[in-house]
């Protein structure tokens, strides 16, 4: 959980709405075409003897699409309205089930160099307004251990950082609770900081939510991501090949069309006949 931004909830709602509307309108259109528009003769008369049922349906569909009355207002506005009412009831039924859960977003994995600082971001999406009692809390679980310790807590407008544990004096609050941002900054990373950081945010009365975790990996030097060099080499070579072929054919086309001046074109004509015999110098 926690890969997209806070607009994801709104986007989901819009998505569902448009999909429902498109499905309903397609269904409506197909029904109208199949039932009301009379079939025009699309194929020539000798072919009608061997027309199958599928061919008949396709014929009516295509002729219906070309008929001018298809593109006007629907014949029965009442059916359209009832369908729209059904769709909105369905949507309103779905949406409230999602609206009461708070959704927390952090990164998935963070890579950092030994001795550097890292900002762990945490934000949330909630259907309620940001209350004044919003709380953020960060816990840390080292790699290979099952216990987590709490390293940061923000409540009642004040931030409380770790002052006894492994992160004492290294944690700083850099978030903005008013903008639903509860990010922390961890300074001077060490190999012992490898582990999972979990952010839990609560926005009363919206408190039901799943905490989101980000995994921190500390390296001496940042490794090359898998496949980057491979992809780069393949892409560059294939791109060069395509470019060379395009330029070659473009030059032949331009010379054949005598785009260049007369002196060059005389040379170019000879060049065109001779180029098929010579190797292409790349």
């Amino acid at each position: 959980m926690g890969r997209a931004g806070p607009m994801r909830g709104v986007w989901l709602g819009i998505n569902q709405g448009t999909v429902c509307f498109l499905l309903l309108s397609c269904f409506e259109a197909l029904c109208r075409v199949a039932s009301s528009i009379p079939p025009l003769h699309f194929l020539s008369p000798p072919c009608t003897r061997t027309r199958s049922r599928v061919g008949l349906f396709l014929d009516r569909l295509l002729s219906g699409l070309r008929h001018p009355s298809f593109w006007e207002l629907p014949a029965k506005p009442e059916t359209m309205l009832t369908l729209l009412a059904l769709a909105s009831v369905v949507l309103l039924g779905i949406v409230p089930e999602q609206s009461q859960a708070i959704v927390i977003y952090t990164g998935w994995e963070r890579h950092a160099l030994l001795g550097s600082d890292i900002r762990l971001s945490c934000s949330f999406f909630s259907w309620r307004w940001t209350s004044e009692d919003v709380t953020f809390s960060w816990t840390y679980r080292p790699d290979g251990s099952r216990d987590s310790i709490s390293i940061f807590h923000y409540t009642g407008g004040a931030a409380y950082v770790d002052n006894k544990g492994p992160f004492r004096d290294r944690v700083e609050f850099v978030g903005n609770p008013g903008r639903r941002d509860g990010s922390i900054l961890i300074k001077n990373l060490d190999f012992n900081d490898n582990g999972t950081f979990t952010c839990d945010a609560k926005n009363p009365p919206d408190i039901v939510g799943r905490p989101s975790s980000v995994r921190l990996l500390v390296f001496e030097k940042v490794p090359i991501q898998a496949g980057v060099i491979t992809g780069a080499i393949i892409g560059v070579v294939l791109g060069l090949l395509v470019l060379i072929v395009v330029i070659y054919y473009l030059m032949r086309f331009l010379v054949a069309r005598r785009v260049f001046s007369l002196s060059v074109s005389k040379h170019g004509k000879k060049k065109k006949e001779g180029s098929q015999q010579r190797q292409i110098k790349v």
Partner: protein
């Protein structure tokens, strides 16, 4: 006619060998480990497990991956261009484009096999090169022969 069929068959064989060399899991084989460019199979308690490659110089490994994939791509492209040029080339001309593509494929697979030989498994005592590695070198020879053939061959002029 016979020569044309022979060349096409040889080309297809070369493509198949290149694909096997790039994909199959046998560049370096020991009694318990079988690795290739993409991962390694390890035998543990009579069950094979597929794991990631480790202790490899990462940039050289990616260079070998890229060049072996490019060799396959260029060999397949050369086959298509050869068939196209059979129909479009004027009589008495050479199949230069096909020859050049095949030559690039030859260079790529040579680069891949050379980097693998020079940089990987230089200190290991046990184990040996597997059949994919051998096929890579064999396909280098075949692509080279085919490239020279295409560069010398002329389309039959009546």
């Amino acid at each position: 006619m016979l020569m044309l069929a022979g060349i096409v068959v040889l080309h297809i064989t070369t493509i198949i060998l290149l694909l096997v060399a790039a994909i199959d899991n046998a560049w370096w084989i020991t009694n318990t480990v079988s690795t290739d460019l993409w991962g390694r199979w390890e035998l543990a308690n009579s069950a094979w497990h597929y794991t990631n490659l480790e202790n490899y110089p990462e940039d050289y490994l990616q260079a070998v991956q890229a060049t072996s994939v490019l060799a396959c791509i260029f060999a397949i492209l050369a086959l298509f261009v050869f068939v196209a040029q059979l129909f479009t080339l004027p009589k008495g001309q050479r199949f230069t484009f096909t020859g050049i593509l095949q030559l690039i494929a030859c260079l790529c697979i040579m680069t891949a096999a050379s980097i693998y030989t020079a940089k990987f498994h230089t200190n290991e005592m046990e184990g040996g090169y597997g059949h994919s590695y051998v096929l890579a070198w064999i396909s280098f020879v075949l692509t080279f022969i085919l490239a020279i053939t295409y560069l010398i061959l002329r389309k039959k002029s009546e």
